[in-house]
């Protein structure tokens, strides 16, 4: 093949203009590897067409820049998996004398922009999960605290009611002590009759206020249905001075009895529960003179 003629035929021009059938293209490419003249001619034609194209250059409107680059970014993001394909090509391009490859890597800021958003989204999700975990922890602690508070409140109520009882008892004791220390109360010792020799009680009688208090030292336990009754003997006549409560009979505390205007002696009899208008003298337990 006469290579000069081949070059002159215009076949190379058509090749660069992409006008050849695949078989003819292959032929041109094969010849280009074989003949430096063909290579040089191809380079010249390409350069010419590049120059011709550049001569037609039209600066696109400024607003188009953002639109086109934005559209490009959107398009490549939607085809992300394919984008990984250019990697080997990028590796090969440094062998090329031109530095025009740089613009491709200049797209990286846009990429990092989108990955920045991805990081932001990931961080947001992580924070949400952390927050949910913290909520669980705090919710459990809050429930514990609530249970503790309820326990403390019932405890406190119990202590308060105990306190009230104690205060009441203290008040009663203070009153008893006041009676015992009062000089106006004359103590009357009641001693056991021969039938109950161990029995012993004491009456505190205030002649001016007519107040009567009874302090039991020891009385036999009253049988069921029976109750002790205090009597005042005024000029030989028995006057009802009130029933002894079970606690008084057990010697637990002082008991204020009915007021007695005047008396020379006191006595306690065992009567039916609820008392009796007149004493059953056969059931006399203790007795004492003022």
């Amino acid at each position: 093949m006469n290579i000069e003629e081949y070059i002159e035929s215009g076949q190379l021009e058509l090749y660069v203009l992409q006008q050849l059938a695949p078989a003819e293209q292959a032929e041109v490419e094969q010849l280009a590897t074989q003949y430096p003249e063909v290579r040089a001619e191809l380079a010249r034609i390409r350069q010419t067409l590049e120059g011709y194209a550049e001569a037609h250059a039209v600066q696109p409107p400024a607003a188009m820049r953002e639109r086109v680059l934005g559209g490009w970014q959107q398009a490549i993001r939607s085809t992300e998996p394919i984008v990984t394909a250019p990697q080997p090509a990028q590796a090969q391009t440094p062998a090329q004398p031109e530095a025009v490859v740089r613009p491709i890597s200049a797209a990286e800021p846009a990429e990092t922009g989108s990955s920045w958003y991805r990081w932001l989204a990931a961080a947001a999700v992580a924070l949400l999960v952390l927050s949910a975990g913290a909520n669980m922890v705090f919710y459990n602690r809050w429930r514990d605290a609530e249970a503790n508070l309820l326990a403390m409140q019932s405890d406190q109520a119990r202590v308060a009611s105990t306190m009230q009882v104690m205060e009441k008892r203290l008040g009663a004791r203070t009153q008893e002590l006041a009676v015992l220390r009062n000089e106006q109360f004359a103590p009357v010792v009641l001693k056991g009759v021969p039938a109950a020799p161990g029995a012993r009680a004491r009456v505190l009688y205030n002649a001016s206020t007519h107040a009567v208090y009874l302090d039991v030292n020891n009385l036999p336990a009253a049988p069921a249905g029976k109750q002790y009754q205090l009597w005042a003997l005024d000029k030989g006549k028995p006057v009802d001075a009130g029933m002894l409560t079970a606690r008084t009979a057990a010697g637990d505390s002082l008991q204020q009895m009915k007021d007695i205007a005047s008396a020379q002696a006191f006595a306690i009899t065992l009567e039916d529960a609820g008392g009796h208008p007149t004493p059953n003298l056969s059931a006399l337990t203790v007795m004492g003179q003022i």
């Binding site: 035929s9 820049r65 680059l69």
Partner: protein, 157 residues
């Protein structure tokens, strides 16, 4: 890609506009070109020519696909190429100022030569379509294309 855009957009836009002749379509094609260049960069073979040629061909082919897909050519075939808006837009002075302006270039080509180049390069015509259009034998298309490129080559050097 922004750097790429700043470097090549006016050249690509000029070629695309020259082919599709409508600004909205030219914008679409420019954007498609960027996507295609990005996605098929691995198919660029440095041994088959400079990046600029490859990039130009990608844009050119997309633009030609566009006019073909819309049967754009049916209406525009009889339209003289000189009427394209790009023809009346002066080349941007800041872009490679060492190159001779389009006016000077086309003035140096005789009408036959310009017609053949524009049909083949910007018209999306195949060589046989061009031969038919110009009523020439195929061989003449070839030699005329060569003659035209020779003239241009001298101007561009």
């Amino acid at each position: 890609m922004t750097e790429f855009y700043d470097k090549y957009s006016s050249a690509l836009y000029g070629v695309i506009l020259r082919i599709v002749r409508r600004e909205e379509e030219a914008e679409d094609v420019l954007q498609e070109s960027l996507v295609k260049i990005w996605n098929s960069f691995h198919s660029y073979d440095a041994s088959k020519g400079r990046l600029f040629t490859w990039v130009l061909n990608v844009s050119r082919n997309l633009a030609i696909d566009k006019i073909r897909s819309r049967q754009y050519r049916v209406g525009s075939r009889t339209q003289p190429l000189d009427d394209s808006p790009a023809e009346h837009t002066p080349a941007v002075a800041t872009f490679r100022p060492e190159h001779i302006g389009l006016q000077d270039m086309t003035r140096q080509l005789n009408p036959d030569q310009q017609q053949i180049i524009d049909l083949l390069y910007f018209g999306g015509y195949t060589q046989s379509e061009a031969a038919e259009e110009l009523n020439l034998p195929l061989g003449t298309v070839k030699t005329r294309a060569r003659a035209a490129l020779k003239v241009l080559s001298k101007l561009i050097r």
